[in-house]
Point group: C2
Chain length 306, copies 2
């Protein structure tokens, strides 16, 4: 009975599951809709039950879990996008899953960063990873170690004093300009103000905004350029602090790739300290597997330390 590692990536829309060998090979993967209607405890019960249908807990040497919130010592507070109150994720999962294996819990974007760092194409350090989705997350690896806890939260660095309201409660965060929720809201505001745009007759989502911007639509361009400007400022601030040679972008919006990178690049000079080299913006490699891969590698990493 060969031992396995289980990686679980709990997102706002989907929970992704991966069963890996101890050497890190992905043996089996699955994804289920996130049980958004449930509270944290019941959600983890459902997630543990599904995980048990994939792999026998007695075969599992360790579990890594990514959650869409800052994590401190396996605990999360209230999660805005889910009906979760403060919870010990590690203990709660273990109670439902059974077994006595170590359970490592970390922020989803930080685990995705660690997955991309360990299995992606780029290995430069300091390794700076930014996810562009509904929100803006991130993770940082230095000296082979993921900065754990509430670190790498580039989406919640302030780019505008007294700026737009962010979902986290404070104002002017990068996420309030460059997250897809913020981009959609800004597009709607511009449309409500009566500006002419092809978006008027379309579903307002990130893909349509980016496609319209590429085609030269003035409203869509305004939205993308405001996001790119905030991203340029935040990336330049990370450069001043850490001086990375590149920044790796994951998440749905990063799929827009070159077009978005060009827009950020155009604005980087305005914010970059003269001592820094312009970081090269690169698209991540692992797509939806980044989170489960990072969860698995964090289990291996923690086990090799102990």
């Amino acid at each position: 009975m060969e031992q396995k590692i289980l990686g679980i990536d709990i997102g706002g829309s989907y929970v992704k599951y991966g069963v890996f060998s101890l050497e890190g090979t992905l043996l089996k993967r699955s994804a289920e809709r996130t049980p958004r209607e449930l509270n944290g405890e019941d959600a983890l019960k459902t997630i543990a039950a599904f995980a048990k249908s994939m792999v026998d807990p007695s075969e599992v040497a360790g579990v890594g879990i990514g959650v869409p919130a800052p994590v401190t010592d396996g605990k999360v507070g209230k999660i805005a996008n889910l009906r979760w109150e403060a919870l010990n994720v590690d203990e709660t999962f273990k109670r439902f899953f059974g077994g006595n294996m170590p359970v490592v819990v970390e922020n989803d974007a930080s685990l995705a960063a660690f997955g991309e760092y360990t299995h992606g194409a780029f290995k430069e350090e300091p390794y700076v990873f930014i996810t562009l989705g509904t929100g803006v997350g991130g993770g940082i690896v230095i000296g082979g170690e993921l900065l754990r806890g509430a670190a790498g939260e580039i989406g919640h660095t302030t780019v505008v004093q007294e700026g737009e309201q962010c979902g986290c409660g404070k104002r002017g965060c990068l996420e309030a300009y460059a997250g897809t929720a913020a981009m959609k809201a800004f597009a709607k505001t511009l449309i409500d103000e009566g500006e002419t745009t092809v978006l008027k007759d379309k579903r307002i989502n990130a893909r349509n905004i980016l496609d319209a911007a590429k085609a030269g639509d003035a409203v869509a361009l305004k939205v993308v350029e405001r996001a790119a400007d905030a991203l340029a400022q935040a990336v330049a601030n990370v450069s001043a602090l850490l001086n990375p040679s590149s920044c790796i972008f994951g998440g749905g919006v990063a799929e827009a790739g070159e077009f978005l990178f060009e827009k950020i690049n155009e604005r980087l000079d305005r914010y970059l300290f003269f001592g820094n080299k312009k970081p090269i913006l690169k698209k991540a490699c692992l797509g939806n597997d980044a989170g489960i891969t990072g969860a698995m590698e964090m289990v291996r990493h923690v086990q090799s330390d102990s």
Copy 2:
């Protein structure tokens, strides 16, 4: 003939020299006015000559040099506050000093950070060090390693889009609000606008501004609170990225200590991400010796690696 390590800290006003034992004990220190009228090569000639008067180059196992500019592989570009053009500091110093010892060159604030990290009272990691002087510098230590090159430059993170002009060439840097040069300029602007203040009859410098603010002078308070607000934003941004448990403040203005820290603390809540613990603001320990101590420790560190 016991071997020594020479630490040199080249500042805008003074060059500080320390002769240390190989174990890191300070045996001799000195300070001379920075030869501001000279170009980089001639200045290093003068500095090397003074160093030779303190210690015989044949006794020196290694030299560490801090310069007030970002450093890449021993090289600096133009230094705004000095008449230095692009220069290989390591090779140029060695040519004048003689001998065949390793010469390590690094940014002055980064070396001060490393000095405080290795010899100061606080050892938490990530170690975040901020110097408050004419400019605002900094240094970061993670995993026992100083982030080298143009890193730790918290003074040149952008806090205000299209904000005040900074000496570095870009706009809205922390330094353009919290450096003493910026604070003095802002105080003068307020006086020129006719605001009533006790500063009108005093020399406008950082100490007088801070003293007047403590005594409740409205203009001085405006200056200090603008600086504290920018510092709070920048510290919160560092927290979101690195999640340090504390930030260590060095440099002349940090001597104002508690009063300034209280002002920053009052504003931190506005900018801090809810996942982060409020970092504790602490005053550094080594004062003027931080730079030479860090220069010496960097020599020891580089030698132990090779």
